[in-house]
């Protein structure tokens, strides 16, 4: 098996890297792929909380690189999906506790066992970011439709290209179609025009995300929600399926009736 390693990063904090990692990982595991999530945010770990696995942590990433335990001992199996694993970060250490070389060899080891390795990057462009991108094959940039977030995403794309990670893909998170409709929020085309990279998916703003994150249950388990559906579609696109972007613009009632009766 030769898995694909993907880093989920943004530069700016609070745009949804951890939520994306948890949901995309769960969605891929639901497609019967073996997935390992790595929390690279050492000292500020959250991925375990979002997945509801905090109380199962015995060993962490630092224990693995310092050889206090074997890799398999530190990998926590998800309580809902046997295809999904989490390699948690250490909470009482800092970013310098692991090196880029150590991350590289860790990811290479995981590639032999997994279909996908998703690395949840910390915010920022310092050592933690460099550790997170070490050894990965693809960069997924999460950006919200805000000028500051797009600016930081642009910076990150440049840094990834400098490291030889060309052709990163874009995820636009927390899009509000009502605000886009009123012209109060950047729309997808604006963002894609500035960043000039391929877009992998759009996740709408959804208050269910807050509920699911607080409960430690990924939203993709509820396919009825817009955001859950969006994440499931992104997972399918990663798997090479051709799924069109969900229409974000509000459908007029007339068009909706036309669609339902099959005229368009």
């Amino acid at each position: 098996m030769k898995g694909k390693a993907i880093v989920i990063t943004s530069g700016k904090g609070g745009v949804g890297k951890t939520t994306t990692t948890a949901n995309l990982g769960t969605a891929l595991a639901m497609l019967d792929k073996k997935v390992c999530l790595i929390d690279a945010d050492i000292g500020l770990r959250n991925l375990d909380v979002v997945l509801g696995l905090e109380n199962r942590i015995v060993y962490d990433l630092i224990d693995v690189v310092e050889e206090n335990c074997r890799l398999e001992q530190a990998m926590i199996k998800d309580k809902r999906n046997p295809n999904l694993f989490l390699l948690p970060a250490a909470q009482t250490r800092d970013k310098d506790a692991v090196s880029e070389e150590q991350m590289k060899s860790l990811i290479n080891e995981l590639k032999e066992k997994m279909d996908y390795i998703l690395v949840d990057s910390p915010a920022g462009i310092e050592q933690g970011f460099r550790n997170a991108i070490a050894g990965v094959d693809l960069g997924l940039i999460v950006a919200t439709p805000e000028v500051s977030s797009v600016r930081d995403a642009d910076r990150i794309i440049g840094l990834l290209e400098a490291e030889g990670l060309n052709d990163p893909q874009l995820l636009i998170n927390r899009l509000r179609r009502d605000m886009v409709g009123r012209g109060d929020m950047m729309n997808i085309d604006d963002i894609v025009e500035i960043l000039a990279i391929e877009i992998l998916g759009v996740i709408p703003e959804d208050e269910n995300i807050v509920i699911s994150t607080n409960k430690g249950e990924p939203i993709v388990l509820k396919d009825k929600t817009y955001s859950g559906k969006a994440f499931n579609n992104i997972a399918k696109r990663l798997e090479g399926q051709d799924i069109p972007l969900m229409t974000i613009e509000k459908e007029s009632l007339f068009n909706k009736v036309k669609r339902i009766v099959g005229l368009s």
Partner: protein, 218 residues
């Protein structure tokens, strides 16, 4: 009286602070003392005698940091209280006799360290013997001791008592709701989706190779 006094015992060296002096002066004389002492403290243990002084966590840390700068990691540093201070409190400064004899009565049996303040996410408190925390232990924080752990507050983080393998170690807290609890080589986590809200103090210990939690009987 000097700002600090030292005294040799079979257990190690006791450093007695005179809190009548201001904290800066105490810190400076502690630094000077370590400068002079050189490698004298190799292989011996050090006891900071705080007496009845209520030491702020920050001050306590500063003292420890000074000591750590000069001492090798083999040297243990402990805090010691004072057993009976009524006499001292009642007597005026002038009429106060030498306080020396009290030192022999100080108990080293427990080697218990008291930590005041909230232990927050990412912070870790570790001690080879017993630990008493006056404050909350938040989720994401780690508390580890070779002996017992008592939390006078809410225990919500990770706790490991008897870390060296002491199976009769106990954990007690005013509210015992840890993320994970470890005693010696046993690991346990609270049942998920349980809504029982227990507001009374509880303790955890090993019984028949399992970690048991029960309310404390007063």
């Amino acid at each position: 009286m000097e700002t600090i006094n030292t005294k040799m015992t079979a257990k190690g060296v006791i450093i007695d602070f005179d809190w009548e002096h201001n904290f800066e002066a105490i810190k400076n004389s502690l630094k000077d003392h370590f400068e002079e002492a050189g490698s004298f403290y190799e292989g011996t243990d050090l006891y900071f005698k705080v007496g009845t002084k209520e030491l702020e966590l920050n001050n306590f840390k500063e003292l420890f940091e000074i000591a750590e700068n000069y001492l090798s990691s083999e040297t243990g540093i402990y805090l010691v209280g004072q057993e009976d201070n009524k006499e001292r409190l009642n007597s005026s400064k002038e009429s106060q006799p030498k306080r020396e004899p009290i030192i022999e009565e100080v108990s080293f049996k427990g080697d218990t360290v008291l930590v005041k303040g909230t232990i927050r996410s990412g912070q870790a408190v570790e001690h080879p013997h017993n630990l008493v925390i006056m404050g909350d232990v938040n989720p994401g924080a780690e508390v580890k001791a070779g002996g017992d752990i008592i939390v006078f507050g809410r225990l919500m983080g990770l706790v490991h008592a008897g870390a060296g393998g002491k199976k009769d170690a106990q954990v007690a807290a005013l509210r015992l709701t840890p993320t994970q609890i470890r005693i010696a080589n046993k690991i346990s986590r609270p049942p998920e989706d349980s809504n029982d809200q227990i507001f009374s103090p509880e303790k955890a210990f090993i019984k028949e190779e399992r970690i048991i939690v029960e309310e404390i009987d007063f």
